[in-house]
């Protein structure tokens, strides 16, 4: 039982990271219907910005977090304006290939400047505390990651459901043309979405850097892919879905490693994804839309 709870906690802290990345995926998908494959790499850039600000500018955790989020938000908007906006009316597959191009570009530009090797965050960015409750070990960093994730998700829900920008986002994601007719500035709304989504990825990047202490230019590929899986799993385009998806994937992975074979942990995650899609093609929280002729 103790071990089970411990594994659950392990899964939740891993899942928080997936959830943060998945949120960005889902928001962008919801509004422009684009699988933004560069999202995982924005997460990587966030980790590097955090690394630079902590190691070279001796910043604390929270200033570095803010800077990484800000930098990624700007990067996200620039990418959207330069690479995706001209393709808004193109076929979705064209935009997808462009996103893959941007993803490779980010990876290898960072690799060119920072080299391929790992970089390590300094120790003790966050106090190295831990507590043991009934034999279950929880570290301060784990609590922080979980808290930051939950706080950001609540903030996000607030923005989307209670503010004018959020209303505009929901309108644009429902019907772009109608929203425009109603006087919503579609371009700005999309930019804001990219900014928020990328900022979340940046936050995830610095959290990974602090928690695991290791970053490299290709670190975004696998978490990016898994976050995408998480987003689809929960129902792509739905914010709570992405969070549930992220936590589920994290939990499945740790449970398979903990009670089955770690050799097949990723395979099981993908197999569950396929099963969920077959049973409920629009994801866990997705609404089945009726086909119209």
């Amino acid at each position: 039982m103790e071990q089970f709870v411990q594994q659950l906690i392990n899964g939740l802290s891993l899942g928080s990271i997936y959830a943060l990345i998945a949120l960005g995926y889902t928001m962008v998908y919801g509004i422009v219907k684009l699988i933004n494959f560069a999202h995982g790499d924005i997460f990587m850039v966030g980790a590097y910005v955090g690394f630079v600000s902590i190691t070279y500018f001796n910043m604390g955790f929270f200033p570095a977090l803010l800077i990484a989020m800000l930098f990624c938000a700007v990067l996200g908007v620039v990418i959207e304006k330069v690479a995706y906006k001209p393709l808004r009316n193109a076929s979705r597959i064209t935009a997808l290939i462009t996103a893959i191009g941007v993803s490779l570009l980010l990876e290898y530009v960072v690799m060119f400047f920072a080299k391929a090797g790992v970089r390590t965050y300094p120790e003790n960015v966050l106090p190295n505390l831990e507590m043991t409750i009934l034999g279950v070990r929880i570290t301060f960093t784990q609590v922080c990651i979980f808290a930051v994730t939950i706080a950001l998700v609540i903030l996000l829900q607030f923005i989307v459901h209670k503010t004018r920008v959020g209303k505009a986002m929901r309108a644009v994601s429902m019907d772009k043309d109608a929203a425009q007719l109603m006087g919503i500035n579609v371009n700005n709304t999309i930019s804001v979405t990219f900014a928020i989504g990328s900022a979340l990825a940046g936050a995830a990047g610095i959290l990974v850097g602090v928690y695991y202490n290791s970053i490299d230019p290709l670190m975004g590929i696998i978490p990016g892919l898994k976050a995408f899986v998480a987003a689809v799993f929960g129902g792509i385009g739905i914010i709570p879905g992405a969070m549930i998806g992220g936590f589920s994937i994290g939990a499945v992975e740790t449970m398979v490693s903990g009670y089955g074979s770690s050799l097949y942990k990723d395979a099981v995650a993908f197999a569950i994804l396929i099963l969920v899609l077959i049973v409920k093609p629009s994801g866990l929280l997705g609404k089945n839309t009726r086909e119209k002729v």
Binding site: Y29, I35, A83, P86, L87, N89, A90, S91, R92, I93, T94, L96, I97, T98, I100, G101, V102, S103, L104, L105, E107, Y108, V109, M111, F112, L225, F228, V229, V232, I236, L263, Y264, D266, A267, F270, A271, L273, I274, L277, I278, P281, S282, E291, V293
Partner: protein, 318 residues
Amino acid sequence: MKQLFSFKNLKYSACVVALFGVIQLLISLNIFDDYYQITIATICINIILAVSLNLIAGFTGQFSLGHAGFMSIGAYACALITLNINSNYSFFLGIFVGAILSALLGFVIGIPTLRLKGDYLAIATLGMAEIIKIIAQNLEFTGGAAGLSDIPQYTNWVWLFFFTAGTVVVIKNFINSSHGRACVSIREDEIASEVMGINTTKYKVLAFVIGAFFAGIAGALYSTYFYVINPGLFGFLKSVDILVIVVIGGMGSIRGSIIASILLAIVSTYLQDFPEIRMILYSLILVVVMLAREFIKTKKINLDILNIKKYIKTNGAR
């Protein structure tokens, strides 16, 4: 019979034979040395992959991100057979078994997943390819992460040409048949074609199976040309590479896929001279090409070379 020997068919056949003759001549004169032959092999294998994916994604409109998975089945089957059966026929047996297994898998996976649409199908096929990769990584007889090596090099230029031309001819004919038109109708409007009495599931699965069959052949040729295969080769990025060729060449254009395969291989050989920034240049080219295509299309400039046929059609109809 009359149709078979029509002027058009004869003309195409003559072109194919001439192309084969010219390249064969260049090889025997050693103008195309080993280095060019490797580039040609890459081009041929990419053409088979791109054309077969084009049948699934471009003509039938089913967005698959798992083509490398089918390729790996063919590659592993053929490698295992040629490594273990020492006979003159093991190469053909390997290709045949690889293609059939791959098609079979396409059938088994296609039936449940092809109910999905668009991006959901993409992620399901992506997951399928990843699962195949992980299984290959962990099985004993596939050599685990190290994969299989010392695979005898049976594939040569003649077989590459034979299978590439064969793939193009078969897929081209399939598309021009009533089955192929059924597939295209699914891409255009699935509900409408269902209303017209087309068994959409059947044709989607059929396209998927045929695509997987040829991807299996491509994998088999790959494994018997490049000596080594390992699970890492057939990951997500390989599927993306194939998709890039299809999209650059134009969805639903076989000629486009062929030209794009050649162009990308040439670009890749150019980029070899910039080892430090090779991937940066490649990704920039990718983004710029996509943006330029869209720019040209929206500005209605008649330069969309790769999509020319479709272009004429859409503009001619106006």
